[in-house]
Structures are given as C-alpha cells and as structure tokens.
Symmetry: C2
C-alpha cells in the first residue's frame, strides 16, 4: 500500500466514502466491490420503498381506528393491546432473524410518530383529527 493510499483511507474514514464516485476507478478489485455494493443498494432501496408504502397504509388504518374510538368515546390508548402487539412483534422478529430490540424500536418509532404527527398538524393550526396511540 502506498502512502497516498494510506492518506486516502484515513481521509475516507472521516469524510465518508462516495461509492458512486469510485465506480470510475481503474482498479478492477475496487470496481468489482463497487458493483456488488450497487446491487445490494438497489435491494435496500426496494425494501425502503416497500416499507414506506406499508407505513402509509399503516397510518391510514390507525387514523380510522382513532376516528372510531373518538366517536365511541374510547380512550386513544389501549395498554392491553400494546402488550399483545409487542409480544407478537418480538416473535415475528425472531422468526425473521431480526434483532428483537430493533422490532421494539420500530414499535416505539410508529407510536412516537403518531404523537408527533398530531402535534405538528395542531401546531400548524390544522385539525389534527383524532389521536390513536396504539391502534
């Protein structure tokens, strides 16, 4: 490894490595790795697209639950449901080979976003509709 390469690697660790820019590299090994990363990135992008589409459906469904609960005078929260959901998600995560902690954090993320979304809409002077915490 030349000193120039050492320097480049040290800089890369701090500034990040722009993989797309490396696609023009003359080194065949670098080109090969960049091609494999590109293939994996295309899959990651597809997965993200699917997840964002599913999140859109999820928020539509929870909004409907929130409206039904409000109409019936039920509370936004249902702690028994929360418990069941978390237990089920942990099992699904185990079956899918996902760290169960990540499934718990996913749950936390959707609950937090539901609350934040309501706050943002209300702050903007809009009608935030009804809040549903665990759906």
């Amino acid at each position: 490894m030349t000193t120039t390469e050492d320097d480049w690697r040290a800089a890369a660790r701090e500034e990040g490595t722009d993989i797309d820019a490396l696609a023009q590299s003359d080194d065949p090994q670098t080109k090969r790795i960049v091609a494999r990363i590109d293939t994996l990135r295309a899959s990651i992008d597809n997965i993200d697209m699917a997840i964002v589409a599913l999140l859109a459906e999820r928020f539509k469904a929870t909004a409907q639950v929130g409206a039904l609960k409000a109409r019936a005078g039920f509370a936004p929260a249902d702690y028994a449901r929360e418990e069941q959901q978390m237990e089920r998600l942990r099992l699904v995560a185990q079956g899918a080979g996902l760290d169960t902690h990540i499934a718990e954090q996913y749950r936390e993320f959707v609950v937090t976003e539901t609350k934040n979304r309501h706050r943002r809409i209300a702050d903007a002077g809009g009608d935030a509709g009804v809040l549903d915490i665990f759906a």
Copy 2:
C-alpha cells in the same frame, strides 16, 4: 348518557380503553365499533409483520454492504448516498400519501438502530462485525 357512563369515560381517558374487553358489551353500537376496530387491527398487525420481515432483510443487506466496505477499506459513511436516499424516500412517501416527515424519521430510525446494534453487540463482548451507516 348516565352519570355512570360519564364516570367510565373519564376513567377510560386516563387508563386507556381495553377494546378486547368491550367485545362482551351488551350495547349493539359498542359491539359494532369494536368489530370494525378488530378488523382494522388485523390489517395493522399484518402490515407490522410485513414491515418487520422487510426490516430483517434490510439489516441483512446492510450487513453485507458493511462487510464489503470494510474489506475494501471504504468508510462506513457515504454522505452522497445519504442525500440521494433521503430525496428518493421523500418522493416515495409523497406518492404513497405518507407525511414526508415520517419517511425522514423512518430513515433516522434505521440509521440509529444500525449504530445501536453495533454498540450493543460490542458491549456484550461479541464481535459486532462491521458498521455500515447509510449502506
């Protein structure tokens, strides 16, 4: 509305409403609403299951990207990629009818979890493998 009902509603707002427990209600309107909430909850559960399965695939793919980057001496971060991903996710969210802020928070969630996962494994004395921040 009777005073008993008022009392029950005030308590429910604080303690949450256990929808499953209401399925035994004698009131036909309550039963109808509980049935509709149950149907929506079944969809929410299916969506969560699909998302958790996709997250498992996502973390497998990013782990592979991390290994490839480490082998090539690339940095874990790629800020150009981060910019592109965020722009794409915003567009996908708009197309799917999802608040773009939620798509941004989803991105934040996966990046944070990648870092946390590495920290947890390393803290437990295990080999955390390679860190890949934006894949």
